[in-house]
């Protein structure tokens, strides 16, 4: 069993090149994207990517904690991969925090209408909401939530590494991890609502939906599973994790399949009720997305995130096919990237949206950063858990 991951030079080069592209796009963006519309584009693209990639790493922690609480053993075979992903959280949390502070304190952007004092002065509704939507409260909550998410990640990782060094057959750390995971899930559960309301729902400040928090959760859960799958397959291709078999691959395929359907369920529940109720305050959200200039993206979103996984991942054979699962993971990742795009852009940019050099450049930069940080984390610890009580179950796991 290969214990230590060594980052291949080629992968390193690729990730650094991607990161460089991102930084280049950012620098050009600073100079080229000014003015009311372009300035907004500059910030919203940065913000959207920061949140999306932050949520991917956070999602990995949620997957791990959920599986821990359910006493699952399927994920233990590649738990170090999951750990490496959520240990990238501090990097993305800092980036997201800097951008968020620029959005609410610097008055450069038109992303949060409620952060603009002159707009609030003229709107009764915004004044009413200002108890929840104001820069100070936003900052405090962001510090608490980002801080605690990162802390829990660190804590669980620390326990996991400690378990490797403890004597065989010990279960103390197992139960401790279990308790920490329970507390994290409870905290995440509340912070999920608060963060989605304050960070994302408030972009379309007049719009509201009670389901929104869970809808975001479904999206980040399924795309995190896609990211985990991609890294597992990557490592497998590089000759590591030789105990991972079709059985494990099959499970990852199942999860992508199941949660793609779950995502669609929540999407549809929200859409149907708003369409049926036909209340103007609520329908504005979909008017621009489904009937405005986002029309095409709106339908592509549904095809990629539901139709494709549903039809392609339905059979057993496809979930046990390396190529299909790998491509589906990429597709699901892109799909939810698009889904997030549709949540962020229409509010501030209206019909002036782009998918151009800047968007692609920034995204590639974030992807490069993700690969770089995650692979670095992977090389910091053994690839298997030496003393985990479920490790052997995980190895003989049958899907």
């Amino acid at each position: 069993m290969k214990e230590q991951f060594v980052m291949p030079a080629k992968l390193r080069t690729i990730s650094i090149v991607l990161l460089a592209i991102g930084i280049l796009a950012l620098i050009i963006g600073i100079f080229a994207l000014n003015g009311p519309v372009s300035g907004t584009r500059f910030w919203i693209v940065l913000f959207f990517n920061a949140i999306f990639f932050l949520f991917m790493t956070l999602g990995a922690l949620i997957v791990l904690c959920a599986a821990t609480l359910a006493q699952g053993s399927w994920h233990i075979a590649y738990r170090r991969v999951i750990e490496a992903i959520f240990m990238a959280m501090p990097v993305f949390a800092i980036i997201a925090f800097i951008i968020m502070m620029c959005l609410v304190w610097g008055d450069k952007s038109a992303i949060y209408a409620w952060a603009d004092k002159s707009l609030v002065a003229h709107s009764k509704l915004l004044q009413k909401k200002s108890a929840f939507l104001n820069p100070t409260f936003y900052t405090i909550l962001a510090v608490i939530m980002l801080g605690l998410w990162t802390y829990f990640g660190y804590h669980i990782r620390k326990l996991s590494l400690k378990e490797d060094l403890s004597t065989a057959g010990t279960t103390k750390i197992f139960w401790k991890t279990y308790r920490v995971a329970a507390i994290f899930v409870a905290f995440y559960y509340v912070s999920n609502a608060v963060s989605t309301w304050q960070w994302i729902m408030s972009i379309d400040v007049n719009w509201y939906s009670t389901l929104f928090m869970w809808y975001i959760w479904a999206s980040l859960f399924v795309s995190s599973i896609a990211v985990i799958t991609l890294f597992v397959i990557l490592l497998r291709n590089l000759g590591y994790l030789e105990w991972i078999t079709y059985e494990h691959l099959h499970d990852m395929g199942k999860f992508m399949f199941a949660f793609s359907i779950f995502w669609m369920y929540l999407w549809f529940a929200q859409y149907l009720l708003i369409w049926y109720g036909n209340i103007p305050e609520e329908t504005t959200y979909f008017t621009i997305r489904a009937w405005g200039s986002y029309h095409t993206l709106f339908y592509i979103n549904l095809i990629i995130n539901f139709c494709a996984p549903f039809l392609i991942l339905m059979t057993r054979d496809s979930k046990r096919n390396y190529t299909i699962v790998a491509y589906m993971a990429i597709l699901v990742f892109i799909g939810h990237y698009l889904d997030f795009y549709l949540k962020f852009m229409p509010g501030p940019l209206k019909n002036n949206w782009h998918i151009g050099w800047y968007e692609i450049g920034i995204t590639l930069g974030f992807i490069g950063l993700m690969i770089l940080v995650v692979t670095r984390n992977l090389s910091k610890a053994p690839l298997f858990l030496k003393n985990h009580p479920y490790m052997k179950e995980a190895i003989i796991h049958q899907s």
Binding site: L211, A269, I279, E393
Partner: protein, 487 residues
């Protein structure tokens, strides 16, 4: 599979030293023996309640809906509350049998049969309410869309009430199929053991001539998987559609997008509570403590805690958005719930559904049988009040202040509700006497891995160093099929 192994950190699912024969003996004992006095007493009380319900319904059909407490403002009250409540209870069974099967949760084997039976009975009870609520019950078949002689008269396909007919109907059908398919091998076991001719004939007839050969097992296992795949979306869809009865309208307190998943979470919450209520009694009376262990009860309490917290978060979300939206009607509605004439119903709901389940954070309480039993009843009271709060408390305070009113149930409302309890428990008593309350063949399936006495064998595997273990299993062809082929 050549290696039977499960981590010793997992609690055994079957306690004591058992072999296959002993499992059969333990589970069929109540069926083959004579029922005790308690069973008769319970059955008679249930039948009496059922008869009272029949009388209440007769009264309602004879005199009309006016005998109920509904009025001009609150035109939906107890009947729909009870309908939603019973449908909700009917969610645990299919969740256990379908979703937990797909998630490979071994502990489902101890509780699935009884939970599925409970599901079916609960849905039967739920179905009564819309049927008798139509008033002219002789025209109830109008709800089914079929080419008819009434001219172009069709049900309204845009109405969630019609979707309900399909959703609940499909759910009931699939649940019955699932339950029955699982029963077939066990009925055959009963047939093979039967001493009297009548028993042999009946169990033989209903086991469809099951022989237990490999081909049959292969087919029935495949059938379980297909039915599980069909039933999984149904667990979500039924209560989602039920929630749309309310959420598609524009009544404050009803129109909110979180309703579908929140109703589903609430349904699972109450369903598991009902499973606890029934199984805690069943395991005691039928001496099945070794099969429905403390581990099972704890696992279900965890599900209760999870779904209870989901529901609690949904309440928070509703309240938050009622304020955040700045909508006058919505905000007023929610404040009226807390502080209006029916404040006690709302507080009852919060106490039972939000505060109480949080006690299950403590392992000691999760594994305390008396406490669990008590909590399971509290939760179902809370879930009843949840539906009552949503339905009646949203209606009695409507748009026109002059029509604000209060709702009080009549004896006919209560009689109908009590009658469904009678129906439910009558069915359950008969079930527990004539059918195995635990799936015998499924217990046998997990016995060799999760039985307490078999777990001793795992010790030697557990102490083996990891690389050696990998070496061993790859020799036994666990891993070799995967290596290389993946690249």
């Amino acid at each position: 599979m050549s290696l039977r192994y499960e981590s010793t950190i997992r609690e055994p699912l079957i306690n004591g030293t058992k072999d296959f024969h002993q499992v059969t003996e333990d589970i069929v004992r109540p069926i083959e023996g004579k029922p005790g006095t308690l069973w008769y007493v319970g059955l008679y009380i249930s039948v009496a309640m059922l008869l009272f319900g029949v009388f209440a319904v007769f009264w309602e059909v004879y005199w009309g809906i006016g005998v109920w407490g509904v009025n001009k403002t609150v035109d939906w009250a107890w009947a729909i509350t009870n309908f939603v409540w019973w449908v909700g209870i009917g969610h645990a069974g299919t969740l256990i049998s379908a979703i937990l099967l797909l998630f490979r949760q071994g502990w489902r084997t101890g509780v699935n049969r009884a939970a599925e039976a409970m599901t079916i009975f609960a849905v039967m009870c739920a179905g009564q309410f819309p049927i008798w609520h139509v008033g002219r019950v002789w025209d109830v078949f109008f709800i089914f869309p079929y080419p008819n002689t009434r001219g172009p008269v069709w049900p309204n396909f845009n109405s969630p009430l019609l979707w309900d007919v399909f959703a609940v109907g499909t759910y009931f059908t699939v649940s019955v199929l699932f339950w029955y398919a699982g029963l077939i091998p066990d009925l055959a076991t009963l047939r093979d053991r039967a001493k009297t001719k009548l028993r042999k004939f009946l169990y033989g007839y209903f086991s469809f001539g099951w022989t237990g050969n490999v081909k049959s097992w292969q087919r029935i296992e495949a059938l379980f998987l297909v039915l599980a795949a069909l039933a999984t979306p149904l667990v979500l869809s039924v209560h989602s559609v039920v929630s749309m009865d309310f959420a598609t309208s524009v009544i404050p307190g009803w129109h909110t997008t979180i309703f579908p998943p929140y109703f589903v979470a609430g349904a699972i919450f109450s369903g598991f509570a009902m499973v606890q209520t029934l199984l805690i009694v069943t395991r005691k009376v039928l001496h099945l403590e070794e099969y429905i262990t403390l581990g099972h009860i704890e696992a279900m309490n965890k599900v209760i805690m999870l779904t209870g917290s989901l529901v609690a978060m949904a309440y928070c979300s509703e309240f938050f958005v009622a304020w955040y939206s700045g909508d006058f009607g919505e905000g007023g509605q929610f404040w009226w719930r807390v502080d209006g004439p029916y404040w006690w119903a709302w507080w009852c709901l919060i106490t039972c559904n939000v505060i109480c389940p949080q006690m299950f954070w403590f392992k000691k309480l999760r594994r305390n049988i008396a406490f669990t039993f008590y909590m399971s009843i509290i939760i179902n009271i809370g879930m009843w009040f949840e539906r009552f709060v949503i339905i009646v408390l949203s209606l009695y305070h409507d748009w026109i202040p002059s029509s604000w009113t209060y709702f009080s149930p009549t004896w006919a409302d209560m009689g109908f509700y009590i009658g469904t309890f009678g129906l439910f428990f009558t069915c359950y008593f008969l079930f527990s006497k004539y059918l195995p309350v635990i799936a015998i063949h499924e217990i046998k399936h997990v016995l060799r891995v999760s039985g307490e006495s078999y777990k001793q064998n795992m010790k030697s595997i557990e102490t083996q160093p990891l690389p050696e273990f990998v070496e061993r299993v790859s020799r036994e062809e666990h891993i070799s099929t995967g290596v290389g082929a993946l690249r």
